[in-house]
């Protein structure tokens, strides 16, 4: 007979950051109805405050100063509030905050100023946070939907502009397809193990492997399908086809947010599912997990395709879209490293470090494009950058910092991310993946430097407008990129205590 839990068993306190954010979004949805169209800055401020409050709680929880709730598990073992959750929360919330700041003036000047924008953004941030906290495959799925559906709508926010509508449609259809893969994969894993709870899956998979039953194939196919579903979200090859079109068509501030948030959520879930749930899935004892080879091959393909195709792009948004594909590849190397027994924690740390570094850098880069973009969505080509350095020296300097960080030049956050990713890759003996990683980094230097050379070495009419909120966003992102690069211990100390839980 089902035993009724008591309310205190739910341990709502442990989920405070995400609960507050979701609750705030619900309340704001109603409040916003009573705010007149011309005063939507109130909604923007309220959103920022909501995200800020949640961020403060996450940081408090991260610093260990205050302990929220009792214990790590909440909602009948569905939610896990550990260090990984805290760091993913911080990353997602910072991205959301930058997203609000980048969007405000853009929405104002393109006359798209509607409260729904901010509320959808809050919901999707809550989804990304939940993915990092998932202790159960069902939560992974629900969180994925909570993250994705607002993003589908946001991509089409520039209705009735055709490119924006097309991007939303494409993203929605392919996204729904990917969700199907994910849920089918979850079903197969459930079929093989009899549970969706990740630590229990861990135990059960060990059992399945030990008795060598036919259920092993179910796990294998299930893991493959889950990889496909989540691979779609993080834009890994061969599930990347939507990325360039969607990123080019969607409103630029949306891209600034979603290119990072979707990755944060997707990779957090990959770490949870593969690092935590399926790390016992070894085909012969002592070998690394069976999915390791698949993931690093996917990583290699992703890095090669993303970097090589980015070289020939002439549109800045499209170029950065391919660059996001390439970066998914780098992070996937770390995910693959989690397949080696004993390295799960180190790999998770590398993933988190890379994600936080990437959040500042990539959101900043798209923020600069937002500043350049004209009201009719033009002026985002590489040529539009010509001479930007003499007209907007600080903006160009910020963009140069972002580009160097994406290349992985030291003293920027991007280098710190790559350092930890390659380090764990070598520890896991994934030498081939690491070598491809560094060589493609050298390739990527070409197209990132092309952005810098357009700004600094060419003469031209490059121009941009930086209203206060946007300027702050770019400033925060640039300073964040440099500070995290110069003081890498900020990142490594934050991530150091990330440990994944195994076994039920």
């Amino acid at each position: 007979m089902f035993e009724v839990p008591s309310l205190s068993d739910l341990n709502v306190g442990a989920t405070l950051p995400v609960t507050l954010l979701a609750l705030g979004a619900c309340v704001l949805l109603v409040v916003d109805l009573f705010i007149p169209r011309e005063r939507k800055s109130i909604t923007a401020w309220l959103t920022a405050i909501g995200i800020g409050v949640s961020l403060v709680f996450s940081l408090l929880s991260l610093s260990g100063a205050v302990e929220f709730g009792s214990g790590e598990l909440a909602f009948s073992d569905m939610y896990r509030a550990d260090r990984l959750t805290d760091t993913i929360n911080v990353a997602a919330l910072i991205t959301a905050l930058l997203g609000v700041m980048v969007a405000y003036d853009y929405l104002e000047r393109t006359r798209l100023q509607r409260g729904e924008y901010y509320i959808l953004l809050m919901f999707s941030a809550a989804g990304a946070m939940l993915m990092g906290a998932a202790n159960d495959l069902v939560i992974v799925f629900i969180a994925l939907e909570l993250l994705s559906i607002p993003l589908y709508i946001l991509s089409g926010f520039r209705r009735p502009q055709e490119a924006s509508e097309e991007s939303a449609m494409k993203y929605f259809l392919l996204g729904a397809f990917a969700s199907g893969f994910l849920i089918y994969g979850i079903a197969l894993i459930y079929g093989a193990t009899g549970t969706t709870n990740l630590p229990e899956v861990w135990d059960a998979v060990a059992g399945v492997v030990a008795e060598d039953s036919a259920a092993k194939f179910l796990v294998m196919i299930g893991a493959g399908l889950v990889l496909a579903g989540l691979g779609f979200k993080v834009a890994a090859v061969p599930f990347h086809m939507w990325t360039p079109d969607v990123y080019q068509g969607a409103p630029t501030p949306v891209v600034a947010y979603m290119s990072v948030a979707a990755k944060i959520g997707g990779f957090a879930a990959l770490v949870r599912v593969f690092g935590m749930g399926l790390s016992t899935f070894v085909l012969e004892s002592g070998a690394p997990a069976a999915w390791q080879d698949t993931i690093w091959l996917v990583a290699v393909l992703t890095m090669l395709l993303g970097n090589v195709v980015a070289i020939v792009q002439s549109d800045l948004k499209r170029l950065l879209a391919y660059s996001t594909i390439a970066h998914a590849g780098y992070i996937l190397i770390a995910v693959a490293a989690a397949g080696t027994a004993g390295l799960e924690d180190t790999a998770a740390q590398a993933v988190v470090i890379y994600l936080i570094a990437y959040a500042f850098t990539n959101a900043g880069a798209f923020a600069v494009i937002t500043a350049m973009e004209k009201d009719d969505a033009s002026n985002t080509s590489l040529d539009a950058l010509r001479g930007l350095a003499s007209r907007c020296p600080w903006l160009a300097a910020a963009m140069a910092v972002f580009m160097l960080s994406l290349t992985g030049i030291p003293l920027t956050a991007g280098f710190v991310g790559k350092w930890f990713v390659f380090k764990v890759a070598l520890q896991a003996d994934l030498v081939a993946a690491a070598v491809v990683g560094v060589l493609t980094s050298a390739v990527s230097a070409y197209y990132y430097l092309r952005v810098v050379w357009m700004m600094y070495f060419e003469e031209g009419e490059g121009d941009a407008a930086t209203p206060p909120a946007l300027a702050w966003a770019i400033g925060v992102a640039a300073v964040g990129t440099l500070v995290l690069g110069a003081l890498p211990y900020l990142l490594s100390d934050m991530a150091r205590e990330i440990t994944l839980a195994f076994g039920g």
Binding site: I409, K423, L426, A434, A442, Y456, F457, Y489
Partner: protein
């Protein structure tokens, strides 16, 4: 709070100098120039103090500063700086070259002045960082960071093909150094620390050891990064482009200091970390070095562009340095280190000369000149000293370095005598192309109308050449003073190499 080491002060001063340039909006161009020059002169002064405080009897690091930067359960990364006999002269070379190239930029650089001097100081900061870093992470950071200011210096203030040259320079160096990054990570994972002295200690105590094949792979990963930077034949093709397109000060820094980072890397990392692999690869590297010597000299002779001639001569000269280092004995390495300094001074001087000619005539073609001596006697006299020093005339600095290197390679146990013979041919070739250049540009009839009224040196130019000429004579006549500083460290290194190689042979 522990004391701040003098090394840290010298290292961080240029960075501090960047701050007013970055944030004070009201500075006039004049103030910016003088501010930058002052910062670099003070840095030079403090680095002389470094020399004064240096204890020549100590082989290990001195004036060390060590702070934890990233610490974790399984590894530590430190801010770890210090100087020893190998790096002290290179630090001084950097601080010596910088004021000169800043002074030489006063006239030629007219637009985006603020940005220019910011990059100059960043450049100095990063280069000193490379030479003082004793932690692999720290070293790699500055190794890469030097690329950025140089990329901008070439790309913004260079001549016609500057963009192509800037990109080529950046990509070449970066592609090589990324493999080094993997090797560094591998070493760090194995050793549990990225601090060089600790890794040496672990290697010495046998706590850390590599299989011969791993050692060779690691050696190659480091060697490719350094060989591109040196540059060694056949990885040199970025160098003529970068040199020819860079502004004068950029070329001076490139030739004077940046190339030394490569050769320094071999001495600092490859030899002591992988002694057995060094011995295995020594003949091959020496072969490439000798090819570089002859090839560089040969191609120099065929140039009609003065700047290109000087650029190719660098390949030849750096070949000598490499040959000396891979002689793997005391005189070879000492000669190599001294030759790094010599080359920095002489070739820096040559590039300054080319820059001064270019400022006057806006061409670098040799046939546009001729008989300059009559129009500009002072300039030509100083030029002659520098040209002779680059050729290796006895009594000047080049001779001491090259002679010691040849002495080392002739006495080397790992290299055959033919390398020395071939290198000696290179010296003769050097005399040929240098004198050919001097003859075409400075001597002969002053037959071109536009050359007749060329003004002689102004005070900035004079003061940027004089220190170089002084150093040419100082090293040439008092080489013992310079060798004295590196003696203990190099002897220690050679001792260690010898021991390990003998031990390996005995196994």
């Amino acid at each position: 709070m522990e004391d701040i080491s003098l090394v840290t002060v010298v290292f961080m001063l240029p960075l501090v100098g960047v701050l007013p340039l970055l944030f004070v909006r009201s500075l006039s161009e004049h103030t910016m120039k003088w501010l930058t020059l002052t910062v670099s002169l003070v840095t030079f002064g403090l680095s002389l103090l470094l020399l004064y405080n240096f204890d020549t009897r100590v082989a290990g690091l001195q004036m060390v500063q060590k702070w934890d930067w990233i610490s974790s359960d399984s590894f530590t990364i430190r801010y770890y700086v210090g100087v020893d006999g190998i790096s002290i002269w290179l630090v001084l070379l950097t601080t010596f070259i910088m004021p000169i190239s800043i002074l030489a930029s006063f006239e030629p650089i007219k637009d985006r002045v603020r940005l220019y001097y910011i990059f100059m100081l960043l450049m100095e900061w990063a280069m000193i960082g490379v030479f003082v870093a004793q932690d692999l992470f720290l070293f790699y950071v500055f190794w890469e960071v030097t690329l950025i200011p140089m990329y901008f210096l070439i790309g913004i203030w260079g001549s016609e093909d500057r963009i192509y040259a800037a990109i080529k320079f950046f990509l070449y160096t970066m592609a090589g150094s990324l493999l080094m990054l993997l090797a560094i990570l591998w070493l760090g994972n194995e050793a549990g620390t990225f601090s060089l002295p600790e890794i040496f200690a672990k290697l010495n105590s046998g706590e850390l050891s590599f299989s011969p094949s791993t050692e060779r792979w690691l050696f190659l990963a480091f060697a490719i990064a350094f060989a591109i930077k040196v540059p060694m034949w056949p990885l040199h093709s970025w160098l003529p482009d970068a040199h020819v397109q860079a502004p004068t000060a950029g070329s001076v820094i490139l030739a004077g200091v940046l190339l030394k980072m490569g050769t320094y890397g071999f001495v600092r990392f490859n030899l002591p970390l992988f002694p057995e692999a060094s011995e295995t690869f020594a003949p091959y590297i020496a072969l490439l070095a000798v090819i570089g010597i002859i090839y560089g000299a040969w191609v120099s002779y065929g140039q009609d562009n003065v700047k290109k001639l000087v650029a190719y001569s660098s390949i030849s000269h750096l070949g000598f340095v490499m040959l000396g280092i891979f002689a793997l004995n005391s005189s070879g390495i000492q000669g190599g280190i001294l030759q790094m300094v010599n080359h920095g001074i002489s070739t820096g001087g040559l590039f300054l000369m080319v820059g001064m000619l270019y400022e006057r005539r806006h061409t670098k073609m040799m046939n546009a000149f001729g008989g300059i001596w009559r129009a500009m006697p002072l300039f030509s006299g100083l030029s002659l000293v520098i040209v002779l020093s680059s050729m290796g005339l006895p009594g000047l600095n080049g001779f001491v370095g090259e002679f010691t290197i040849l002495l080392g390679s002739a006495g080397s146990q790992v290299l055959s005598l033919w390398f020395t013979v071939a290198a000696a041919v290179g010296i003769i070739l050097a005399a040929v192309y240098m004198l050919y250049m001097f003859n075409t540009v400075y001597m002969g009839e002053l037959d071109k109308e536009e050359n007749k009224r060329l003004p002689d040196l102004n005070w900035q130019e004079l003061w940027s050449l004089i220190p170089i000429v002084i150093m040419v004579f100082a090293i040439g006549l008092q080489a013992g003073f310079f060798f004295n500083y590196m003696d203990s460290s190099v002897r220690d290194l050679v001792q260690y190499l010898g021991d390990t190689i003998t031990a390996a042979a005995g196994r």
